[in-house]
């Protein structure tokens, strides 16, 4: 008999857990997500760094310290198996004052303790050799070559696709509203789409992990949102080669200056604590963005003119009581596992979190996990026109002419890429067509013009493939429809 597992939340944590658990013969894994697509929670808006594992104090935050570096090592393997867009470009934690070196020494020491031997302090000469356009105030840096960057939502998508290919069932647009517990054991989860039976419930609900825990009667922690805001610039603005951090302060890792994997200069985040009820407040603010601008300028004085901005956005870190990740099987409710308070470096730690959960299932719940004879670790990346040579385009066009036709001009995304994205959306169970689902899979609409040329075309493709009217296509799920009806709807009076 199979043990039924319900994972609440298809963010980087939930998806990674699903993938790791999909390996076992005797588990039936359900991945439950309230959003229309995977990766749209905290995992959507962050700095996208695979951190070096040197900065979490193992005394104060043992779980973070342990899982961050283990996660970093695992990502090196996962990005290859799953063909996730990534770059291993390393990070520089920059000193601008003599006192900063004390902190860098501390980080070096802590890194060694956490299991990161591959770091060293570089002097000014070497620093400018690594990063010529850095502020002239810089006097040295800690060089952490194992830091990298990935596409966070593409990662969640890749992991979910692989999990589904290995038998995981997804339930999108399914919101968990209650957890059934009988005689101290979980029995399943109630949702807007009915009851889902489960022997094990894994709470990976990001900002809402406290709410879900309370549904199971567990209330020893609370999650509050901590906002971080960002600027992204056009791809013709020069950015650094490495990830640049200022020397951290006790409160924050500081504002990062980096060239994200698509080649855009990105600066951010700041940190602003919000009250617990503001978990949906993803609005950017003038003050927050100015703070980021000022912070970034200290490392990268040649910030481009504001007219080179192509996007600003904000993310919310799920900050738990106590500050450390809460990853454990709760004793009073058998079968309920919390994966809560997964704040930064949660993206980095996700693969390690997933293995941790598998261990918890074996060790604490006493379920012996049997590996499948056949488990497929691989997943193929979606076709990207912009990565093809003209010769490859001509090969692709033989299969489908749509691969030769560009829809998104800024990022060279072909109609073929988009049709493939739609196919993959359907494969993991995306029910509501949205432009954002296409965007995260193909990069369409994320370029210089921010979609003003291609969005209407993408809407047409989505409408056709999903069999809906074009105005019913959404930007990002129900309530964000592209239009209100055909162009005469108001004159007819039936809007």
């Amino acid at each position: 008999m199979k043990t039924k597992v319900a994972i609440i939340g298809a963010g980087i944590s939930g998806a990674s857990i699903a993938r790791v658990l999909s390996r076992y013969e005797n588990l039936e894994v359900h991945l439950i997500e309230k959003a229309p697509d995977v990766g749209w929670g905290v995992s959507k808006a962050n700095t996208a760094l695979i951190h070096g594992g040197y900065d979490d104090d193992p005394e104060k935050y043992p779980t973070r310290a342990k899982l961050c570096i283990r996660g970093n090592r695992l990502w090196h393997q996962w990005v290859k198996e799953l063909e996730i867009p990534h770059v291993w470009n390393g990070a520089l934690i920059v000193a601008t004052k003599d006192e900063d070196f004390d902190e860098l020494e501390r980080l070096l020491e802590r890194g060694r303790k956490n299991g990161v031997p591959e770091m060293r302090i570089v002097d000014r000469d070497e620093l400018f050799h690594l990063e010529p356009n850095l502020t002239r105030e810089a006097i040295g840096a800690l060089w952490v070559p194992i830091v990298g960057q990935i596409g966070p939502i593409p990662a969640v998508i890749a992991i979910t696709e692989n999990a589904v290919a290995n038998g995981v069932k997804t339930h999108l647009e399914t919101e968990v509203t209650g957890i059934k517990v009988e005689n101290g054991e979980v029995k399943g989860v109630e949702t807007n789409n009915g009851f889902i039976e489960a022997d094990i419930v894994i709470n990976a609900a990001g900002l809402y992990a406290d709410k879900i825990a309370r549904m199971a009667g567990i209330d020893y922690f609370e999650i509050h949102p901590r906002k971080g805001e960002y600027w992204i610039f056009d791809d013709d603005v020069p950015g650094p080669k490495r990830v640049l951090f200022p020397t951290p302060t006790p409160i924050s890792k500081g504002i990062v200056v980096t060239t994200e994997i698509s080649g855009h200069l990105m600066i951010g985040p700041n940190a602003q604590d919000l009250p617990p009820e503001e978990k949906e407040n993803l609005a950017t603010t003038k003050e927050g963005l100015e703070q980021v601008w000022e912070g970034a300028k200290k490392l990268w004085p040649q910030l481009p003119p504001r007219s080179k901005v192509i996007r600003t956005f904000a993310g919310l870190r799920p900050e738990p009581t106590g500050g450390d990740f809460i990853i454990k099987a709760e004793e009073e409710v058998w079968g309920f596992i919390n994966v809560a308070g997964i704040r930064s470096p949660g993206l980095t730690s996700a693969p390690a979190i997933a293995y941790e959960v598998a261990e918890i299932i074996e060790r604490d719940l006493g379920i012996e996990l049997k590996e499948k004879e056949k488990w497929n670790p691989y997943r193929k990346e979606i076709s990207h026109f912009f990565m093809m040579t003209p010769e490859q385009v001509n090969e692709a066009v033989k299969k489908n002419p749509a691969y030769g036709k560009i829809v998104c001009r800024c990022n060279s995304v072909s109609e073929g890429d988009i049709l493939e994205a739609i196919e993959r959306m359907k494969f993991i169970g995306v029910k509501t067509p949205s432009v954002d689902s296409v965007k995260f899979r193909t990069k369409a609409t994320t370029g210089t013009c921010q979609g003003s040329f291609c969005r209407p075309k993408i809407v047409q493709l989505l409408a056709k493939e999903y069999g809906v009217e074009p105005w019913e296509v959404t930007l990002k799920g129900k309530g964000s429809e592209i239009g209100i009806g055909d162009v005469k709807v108001l004159l007819r009076g039936d809007a």
Binding site: L282, T312, E391, P401, T448, C449, V459, W471, K476, I482
Partner: protein, 418 residues
């Protein structure tokens, strides 16, 4: 290294099938050149097919036409002449091997190709500025469109974007969209303009009165809030220096925000081959053949500078084609002592930048600020022209005769009180 893909060969490849590109291709064909026109849309016409209002062609056809009518006239002529063209075809890259050897790499539903050409005419149009670029913060929700996107949704695809509309920008495009929305039964709650004066032509500003649409001058939209969809937008007043006045904020409830905050020439592909860009126009620096700083690369239309009249765009296309013909025949545009044209008082931008003096030319220019009873002067040659009103929104086009140009080494154009 050359890609191993089918190779074609032409005298001129024209990039972009809007009015500039079509006019260029037609003229090039008339001049006996072997020409190929490429456009990424499924249809020719560029942005014209989405501009269903009248106001096109008064100079060029001496008739007032709608955008689609103007476009179809050019398209008809193009087809009659047998100009070779491909739609659904996007140029990916231009390579400049030598003066008379360019390669244009493009992709289409039948695959990727490379076209050799002696000259290239670049007429790829412009893009619109979007909400992020103009500093709007808040929620990233549905219901925020550029004017052109809203126009495409409505007039190409028949989709009504929303019913309570706020428009940023009172230029012609914003005003025309205000009317378009009102005509479809939507409530246009405000047109918000940063400057103390409206940006559009007087006849278009009348639209606001006709449809009872409030115009907020010296105001800007700074924030958008909503859950899935725009619910309200925050407006704030600005002072003479365009700084926000604290305490003057107010919210307007609306489900749609239209950004009509100007166009930017699309020139990334030109920059990639080292074409010099004029920061004032956002387009290339050109001589009076509309040749860029890279020999044999010509430019016309909104890629050269943002035009408010399609007639000038078509005119520029023809001029570029004539330049290409001369370039190909003579193995280059003769290098000479070009007369440099400089911007003087109250001139924000000016094209072309260099004049040969061997031909009459049209100068296209825009002023920085509105003025009445002024004179356009070119002191070096003692030229003076009276103008009753000038506005940044209205491009001025003035003719200089060859012999006037030849009189000076340099020309300064200024617009000053008469």
């Amino acid at each position: 290294m050359f890609p191993r893909i089918p190779m074609l060969s032409y005298d001129v490849v024209v990039i972009g099938g809007g009015p500039a590109g079509m006019a260029a291709a037609i003229r090039a064909k008339e001049l006996g050149l072997k020409v190929l026109l490429l456009d990424e849309n499924d249809y020719l016409g560029g942005i014209l097919p989405q501009c269903i209002h009248p106001g096109f062609g008064l100079h060029y056809y001496k008739e007032e036409l709608t955008g689609p009518e103007f476009a179809s006239r050019l398209a008809k002529r193009l087809v009659e002449l047998g100009v070779e063209y491909k739609t659904a075809t996007r140029v990916l890259e231009i390579k400049n091997y030598s003066d008379l050897e360019k390669v244009v790499i493009f992709t289409s539903p039948s695959g990727a190709y490379q076209a050799w050409a002696k000259a290239v005419i670049y007429a790829a149009g412009a893009r619109e500025r979007h909400a992020f670029e103009i500093g709007i913060v808040g929620d990233r929700v549905s219901g925020i469109y550029t004017a052109g996107e809203a126009q495409t949704l409505m007039d190409i695809y028949g989709i009504m974007p929303g019913k309570e509309i706020v428009i940023v920008g009172s230029g012609d495009v914003g005003l025309i969209m205000a009317r378009r929305f009102a005509l479809e039964g939507a409530k246009v709650k405000a047109v918000v303009e940063l400057m103390p004066y409206p940006g559009g032509l007087a006849r278009n500003v009348m639209i606001l009165r006709d449809f009872n649409i409030p115009l907020y001058l010296s105001h800007k939209v700074v924030e958008v809030r909503g859950k899935g969809r725009v619910e309200r937008v925050k407006v704030v007043r600005v002072d003479e220096n365009l700084n926000e006045i604290p305490g003057s904020e107010f919210w307007i409830e609306a489900d749609t925000l239209i950004i009509s905050a100007g166009l930017v020439p699309s020139v990334k592909k030109l920059k990639a081959i080292g074409v010099e860009i004029d920061p004032a126009t956002g387009g290339p620096v050109v001589n009076d053949r509309l040749e860029t700083s890279v020999p044999g690369i010509f430019v016309a239309g909104n890629s050269l500078l943002i035009n408010d009249l399609v007639d000038y765009v078509a005119e520029q296309g023809e001029l570029a084609a004539e330049g290409a013909k001369e370039f190909i025949e003579n193995g280059g545009i003769e290098s000479r002592k070009w007369v440099k044209v400089e911007k003087g008082e109250n001139v924000r931008l000016l094209v072309p930048h260099y004049l040969s003096g061997d031909r009459d030319v049209y100068l296209y220019l825009r002023v920085s600020k509105p003025m009445e009873d002024v004179e356009l002067r070119i002191p070096e040659i003692g030229k003076r022209m009276k103008l009753p009103v000038v506005k940044p929104a209205e491009m001025l086009r003035i003719k200089l005769r060859a012999e006037e140009i030849r009189k000076a080494k340099k020309l300064t154009v200024e617009v000053v009180k008469a």
